[in-house]
Amino acid sequence: MTTNKSFGFMDEYAKKEIRRSSLKAVAIPGYQVPYSSREMPMGRGFGTGGLQLTLSLIGEGETLKVIDQGADDSVNAVNLRSFIEMTCPGIHTTTSTTEAGVIQSRHRIPERPLREDQLIVLQVPYPDALVVVEASEDKRKILHGEADYSRLLVKLYEDIVKFDEITISHRYPTRIHGHYVIDPSPIPRWDVPKMHQSAALILLGAGREKKIYAVPPYTDAEPLAFEDVPFRVEDFTDENGQRRPCARCGCTTSFLDEYIDSSTGDYVYRCSDADWCNEQLMDESLLEVSNG
């Protein structure tokens, strides 16, 4: 299989085009660069945009981590990882955020702050934040060009009128470098502030919609909000006003997933970022060892 296929599944021209589009995306922060988006041996909508970015950027000897909603072992992550391993001989894969050079992620940014020598690729279903207020792409392009995002703000206004708060839970419209507003992919609001002045390059790829865009390192990323109704991240305090801890590692600073315990019917909260949770557990056991 690997012998008659080129490195990274795609031919060199395809990879070159994606790299060129990525460079343009970095040069114009937040601008959606169109690209041709090749057929991948999986359905569009399964992360083909992110996959193509990863395949064209990764090289021999580099280390890859693939995340699906924070986890390394769910279907999307496992399949993408094994496909990349198969088509890119000579790369290493890991589940550790610290060890990874390239991180491809579906809908989460790791809890551990990324470094300058790391790069994160996000899989994007809907690249255009304006799609909810304007159906025509032609008109959206004009709105982006003129940085006219009043209609998105009206949506926030209507939210506050109806519900007293902004109800966007994910895909929170975020203004990059003071001009273009992007759809940061369905990451929770929790992850949006991590894009602001991030040390690592953030690349976003939409395979079905054929768009690549980027948040370059150390670039402003401001979620849209009003002066007197600021942006808020998810709130994990319980009814007693206590911050809920992760049921597994006890961490009180991470983004939590809610589960229902099938035997008791209770709600259980656990870290969404699996690697982060493991690290916290490891630290605790090290502490116990040194204390014991």
Binding site: E146, S150, L153, V154, Y157, E158, D228
Partner: protein, 276 residues
């Protein structure tokens, strides 16, 4: 008096156009379709001045080009020819030479438009207050309570109950929708307002109330307005000066009283004589 707007030789042609378009159309030919190339000359050689606090009426039958002229000034349409200068706060803008972003800025900050059909001026998917908020947000007001307060005061000024500001415009009567549209147009305190057949299709008592409101706005804020209508009553009540258009040409201009009492052009005479 301060000049606000100066329009010279404004022409709009739909179609490819030819050398004889202007020569073979107009009131003398009873047509605005060019016999040689089939292009429609919607407006040609429209020139006028508008001063601060003045209301200029543009009168004419449907298809006479009156709305087209105004739509060009509001950047809804592009003119084929002509020049328009807008004077604002010691600045002078050559309207048809501005780039899109500059045009949008003027449109959002300094101009207001009220259409005959509220569907054009209002977004029916968002509340009445949201419609006003949209215009304020376009002009970079980013404080929620400021926007809210401003929307309440605008709606009360146009006599829409502030309790209904969070309702959808589709729940409003035609007159109310028109009031919301006027409130939206006034949101940024524009020095220039375009009114395109604002009272057409409303019943008489509502018409009177809307016209009162327009006069009040003009007197309170010295807003210059261009009122497009085919209704002589509206012209008589609102306009200081009037342009009469037919087949895309201006056939008569002057003080409104003069035009209504002593019309010179045969068409205007017929128009005035036929008024009920």
């Amino acid at each position: 008096m301060d000049k606000v707007l100066q329009v010279r030789e404004l022409s709009v042609v739909y179609g490819k156009g030819c050398a004889s378009c202007y020569k073979k159309t107009g009131p003398d030919f009873n047509s605005n379709i060019c016999p040689d190339c089939g292009s429609v000359v919607a407006a040609h050689d429209v020139s006028f001045d508008l001063y601060r606090g003045e209301i200029l009426g543009i009168m004419g039958e449907s298809g006479s080009g009156k709305s087209t002229a105004v739509k060009c000034l509001f950047f809804d349409e592009e003119p084929t020819n002509g020049k328009a200068l807008f004077y604002d706060e010691d600045q002078q803008y050559n309207l048809f030479r501005l780039n899109k972003a500059q045009q949008r800025r003027l449109r959002n900050h300094r101009f207001g438009m009220v259409y005959q059909n509220p569907n054009l001026g209002l977004n029916f998917d968002i509340s009445a207050g949201g419609n006003i908020a949209e215009r304020l947000l376009m002009s970079n007001v980013s404080n929620y309570s400021d926007i809210r307060g401003r929307a309440v005061s605008l709606l009360s000024r146009t006599e829409v109950l502030s309790e209904r500001m969070d309702e959808m415009p589709k729940n409003f009567s035609g007159g109310m929708q028109q009031r919301v549209q006027i409130a939206k147009a006034l949101a940024t305190n524009p020095p220039l307002l375009f009114l395109d057949e604002v009272t057409t299709g409303l019943d008489l008592s509502v018409q009177a109330a809307i016209l009162d409101l327009i006069l009040e706005i003009q007197q309170q804020s010295q807003t210059s307005m261009i009122v497009v209508t085919h209704d002589l009553g509206v012209i008589r009540l609102l306009a200081d000066r009037t342009l009469v258009m037919k087949y895309g040409r201006v056939i008569e201009t002057g003080l409104t009283d003069q035009i209504l009492e002593d019309p010179q052009h045969a068409y205007t005479q017929r128009l005035v004589a036929s008024a009920l």
